[in-house]
């Protein structure tokens, strides 16, 4: 739905309007039959609960640490992308600089742990709040920018953060910070070989971000954000406080992304600027949501489920050859999903969504580019 932010001057502009039309209908649906709406919400909750239980039971079958590592990463990126989705998907503000919040989370909790002995549980909350404050401070000037100007501003700020961390000697500079090797401990979130605690933490994190998204989807904020995304000017004229709702989305999104950063630091027990603040990371945070379905409840999780295991396995089993095969597979996959499933992988499942899109497309042959 970035197209709202990147106003198309050709036929492509038809598509978002079609989307908006669909939403309208959804809203009418919603008013007309609150009962069925509530049932749908209950069903979503039930699916989430079942999925959570299934994943929680998975380590009973999969003992292999390598596979468990992939599970942790998949859940972590699902949660991160879900956090990104709050701002990028629901609010339509495409950020490719979320690595800065991730890095803030990683550095704040690690510095507090290494220098002050503070448990990462508290450290990650402090990091999250700090990241949210940074997001608010940045949001104040940034939300005046539209489309690519906004996106490039987010990239530029994250890159600035990266350069500052590389040159800040107290925080380890390029050497990074190593979390000292100690006995297994839940308080320190440190486990030498055991991956299970990390699986459960990441699962809890993913569930939390999902629940938050689930709740706000149906809240006043959720409606505001969609209004902002669909048409900022109209939303303003209707009295929606566009600016404040964007700020809230940014703060929430940054808070959870920073939690992910703190978790990553505890999980890997070593951080350096390039691995927790690099541009690649910003892309990886956004990518699952984009591939799975931007602005959807299940998109980020679905995208992460496809993307992370595939990239991990191709790297492990093709990367060692040094002939670029892993890159080719990764690149082609992204391209193919983006082209074949522009609405994301969730559209494979969503009956309502499809039903909505088709008549619009039929009514507007121009919406499809010339054959």
């Amino acid at each position: 739905m970035a197209s709202q932010e990147l106003p198309g001057r050709d036929s492509s502009a038809v598509a978002p309007r079609a989307e908006a039309g669909g939403r309208e209908r959804e809203r009418i649906d919603h008013d007309a039959s609150l009962g069925s709406f509530a049932r749908r919400r209950h069903r979503k909750l039930a699916v989430a609960a079942l999925t959570t239980v299934a994943i929680a039971l998975l380590p009973l079958v999969i003992h292999d640490v390598y596979l468990q590592n992939i599970i942790v990463l998949t859940l972590m990126y699902a949660a991160l992308s879900q956090s990104w989705n709050i701002l990028g998907g629901y609010c339509g503000q495409i950020s490719l600089g979320h690595a800065i919040y991730f890095g803030i989370g990683a550095y704040v909790s690690t510095l507090l742990f290494v220098h002050a002995g503070l448990t990462p549980w508290l450290g990650m909350l402090i990091g999250g709040v700090f990241a949210a404050l940074v997001a608010l401070a940045l949001g104040y000037p940034f939300f005046r920018l539209r489309g690519h100007y906004f996106t490039i501003a987010t990239i530029v700020v994250a890159e600035t953060g990266l350069l500052l961390m590389l040159n800040w000697d107290f925080a380890g500079g390029a050497q990074g910070i190593q979390i000292p090797y100690g006995p297994d401990s839940w308080a320190h979130l440190q486990f030498a070989r055991d991956k299970l605690p990390y699986v459960y933490f990441a699962l809890g994190f993913a569930l939390l971000t999902w629940l938050v998204t689930f709740l706000i989807e149906d809240s006043r904020w959720g409606y505001w954000w969609r209004a902002v995304k669909d048409n900022a000017e109209a939303a303003e004229s209707l009295g929606v406080v566009v600016f404040r709702s964007k700020m809230a989305a940014a703060a929430l999104s940054a808070f959870f992304t920073a939690i992910g950063g703190s978790f990553y630091a505890a999980f890997v027990s070593y951080i350096d600027p390039d691995s927790v603040m690099g541009f690649q990371l910003s892309l990886l945070i956004a990518l699952p949501a984009v591939l799975g379905g931007i602005g959807t409840l299940w998109g980020p999780a679905l995208g992460a489920l496809v993307l992370i295991p595939l990239t991990e396995l191709t790297r492990s089993y093709f990367g060692g050859s040094g002939n670029g095969l892993d890159l080719i597979i990764y690149g082609v996959l992204i391209m193919v999903i983006a082209l074949a499933r522009p609405e994301g992988l969730t559209s494979l499942f969503g009956r309502t969504r499809k039903a909505r899109a088709t008549p619009q497309a039929r009514a507007n042959p121009e919406a499809r580019a010339n054959p």
Partner: protein, 415 residues
């Protein structure tokens, strides 16, 4: 993955069938995991490392008439002639991925030991993982001194680290001073990575201790699109010695930019990395005739250690390149590791660790200019004497220390 497992399974079954008749209890194959960057900016290093390992495996697994550990026998005699195989994994320069690959190699592929990793940041997570799983890690080509100070038991480094390398440079300066050359001022030029900052920190410390003045200390962003302003600052400072710590890409750009801005440094003493890569000299060699680089290796060592020339031929047949500072250490690292496994007579991590800790290989039985290989309690080999090489007439000649030198240094490089 499945197909691969089937193929692997088939291969090891065949290997088992081939040897079970004689050595039923012995492993048919000893696996060693190598973690390198195989894609991205430093993929070249990983691909070259693979050739170095293949050369080492040739020496270990086949009979060669060379005075090197395990050369004269086929396979590991201590393990009933078991062959060694290396599995290469790609860490993409990312510490998290390096850790994941190390874990995979240890738990799934059941490697007996690890070797790696070029990038020091990745070596941190690999060495920690190795410690947690009690599997030895040979840090073949990492030079960051912070690595052996982590207090790890399973970490071993046969080569020198940046402080040892830098010390050799300053010993060289001191020697030149005694001969009456004027060396007062230094200019440091280093990239903003672990390698660059560690190197610069060591050089800064030594300069203070020995009374050299650092007139400019430039930290630059690795892989910058332009180094013009940086070189302009170096030119204005015009120190007696320019000391770059750069990888190949930035090294090429640095030298080209110096030429473009008409800066001819009086002397250049480089912290290896890019300045030991053939690619750099192919690109700009004629512009820096007389540049000096620290190294762990030099081809002219062949005069004193005959195996050097033969190993270089084996390596060149595979890669089309001469052995360099990195590939020689990778080759030697694998040989030392295999020697440890052979003496341990086991693939058990703790036993290999003990055997490695007891390693004592005289320098003559290596292809390196080292006095010997003997690890300290922190896993660092203190006898890994570095050498200084000078690029003269299209090749490197060893100029320092006196014991290894085959020629006098040409100093200064430009007048």
């Amino acid at each position: 993955m499945n197909r691969r497992e089937i193929i692997l399974g088939g291969a090891s079954t065949a290997a088992v069938l081939g040897t079970t008749g004689l050595h039923a209890q012995q492993p048919a194959e000893v696996l060693i995991g190598a973690v390198y960057q195989m894609s991205g900016a430093s993929a070249q290093v990983g691909v070259d490392a693979q050739h170095a390992f293949d050369t080492a495996l040739d020496v270990i697994n086949n009979v060669h008439d060379l005075d090197l550990p395990l050369a004269k026998t086929a396979g590991l005699p201590g393990l009933g002639g078991a062959k060694v195989r290396v599995i290469v994994a790609d860490h993409q320069g990312d510490p998290q991925k390096g850790r994941a690959e190390a874990e995979r190699l240890i738990t799934r592929e059941k490697v007996a030991a690890l070797i790696g990793s070029y990038q020091s940041a990745v070596a941190v997570t690999i060495s920690q993982t190795a410690e947690r799983y009690q599997v030895p890690f040979i840090s073949a080509d990492n030079s960051s001194p912070s690595l052996h100070r982590q207090g790890l038991k399973f970490y071993f480094r046969a080569g020198a680290h940046d402080e040892m390398f830098s010390k050799a440079m300053f010993d060289f300066f001191d020697a030149l001073r005694q001969k009456g050359h004027k060396i007062e001022t230094l200019a440091l030029f280093h990239e903003d990575t672990i390698f660059g900052t560690d190197s610069a920190n060591a050089q800064q410390k030594l300069a203070e201790e020995r009374g050299y003045k650092i007139v400019t200390n430039i930290k630059y962003r690795a892989n910058s699109p332009s180094l013009t302003a940086e070189v302009q600052q170096l030119k204005s400072a015009d120190a007696d010695v320019l000391m770059p710590s750069s990888y190949t890409t930035d090294g090429i750009l640095l030298v080209k930019t110096m030429g473009e801005l008409g800066y001819r440094p009086k002397a250049m003493v480089a912290q290896d990395a890019g300045f030991s890569e053939k690619a750099l000299y192919d690109a700009v060699g004629d512009k820096i005739e007389g540049v000096i680089s620290r190294a762990s290796f030099s081809l002219d060592l062949a005069a004193k250690r005959p195996s050097v020339g033969k190993i270089n031929e084996l390596f060149k047949a595979r890669s089309g390149k001469d052995l360099n500072d990195l590939t020689s250490r990778e080759f030697m690292g694998l040989l030392i590791l295999a020697d440890g496994i052979d003496r341990a007579k086991s693939t058990d991590g703790e036993k290999i660790r003990e055997a490695l800790a007891a390693t004592d290989i005289p320098g003559e039985r290596t292809i390196m200019p080292w006095k010997r290989v003997k690890f300290g309690p922190d896993g660092q080999n203190l006898d890994a004497d570095p050498v200084l090489l000078q690029w003269v007439g299209g090749k490197f000649v060893t100029i320092f220390p006196q014991s290894a030198a085959i020629a006098e240094a040409k100093w200064p490089m430009n007048t």
